[in-house]
Amino acid sequence: MQLGQVLGSVVATEKVAGLEGIRFLLVQPLDKTGRPNGETLVAADGVAMAGPGELVYFVASREAAEALPERFVPVDHAIVGIVDDVNLEEE
């Protein structure tokens, strides 16, 4: 799982079967210190509560399809939790 920051939401009316009712959020992947790391992506919201500005963590690939109430929906990234705090050892 990786850290990410929710930048916004994505609305699509016309989409493939299986994606109905799923919230899609724009997520900027972050490194462990919270700096942007990599290209922004669209993730399904597995907790159904994440919103813009929030620090989240997400899973990629096949496991993303397991994060939603209905199984094996065609998604490649899914938010699985909202981060309250990251405690890093001082280096």
């Binding site: 799982m1 990786q2 850290l3 490194d31 462990k32 597995g46 907790v47 509560m49 963590y57 899973v59 690939s61 096949r62 496991e63 993303a64 399809a65 397991e66 994060a67 199984r71 899914a78 699985v80 939790g81 909202i82 981060v83 309250d84 705090d85 990251v86 405690n87 890093l88 050892e89």
Partner: protein
């Protein structure tokens, strides 16, 4: 599996139900020299602590097997605490 080092912990109250009650560790994934080559957030099942060199499993069905689940969105699990690493016949310090 990959070798990494526990860099910290992630605290989360709102998460998918199967993550309830699990400790999340933020682990640096290390290369052969012990330099970080990225990171992953993994579920802890061995009571690893910050600074420990650990064995990280990053594959979904094995992760679910460890947690006794048939389904679920988990992939990375800390499955061992490394005591010794030998590279090219030399013991690599774990710092």
């Amino acid at each position: 599996m990959k070798v990494g080092k526990v860099a910290g912990t992630v605290i989360s109250t709102i998460n998918i139900p199967l993550l309830d009650g699990h400790r999340l560790l933020l682990c640096d994934v290390e290369d052969l020299e012990g330099k970080p080559s990225g990171y992953t957030i993994a579920i802890d099942v061995v009571d690893a602590g910050v600074g420990d060199t650990v064995l990280i499993l990053d594959e979904g069905s094995s992760a679910r097997q460890i947690l006794g689940l048939d389904h679920g969105a988990i992939r990375a699990v800390v499955v061992g605490i490394v005591d010794q690493l030998v590279v090219d016949g030399e013991v690599r310090p774990l710092n």
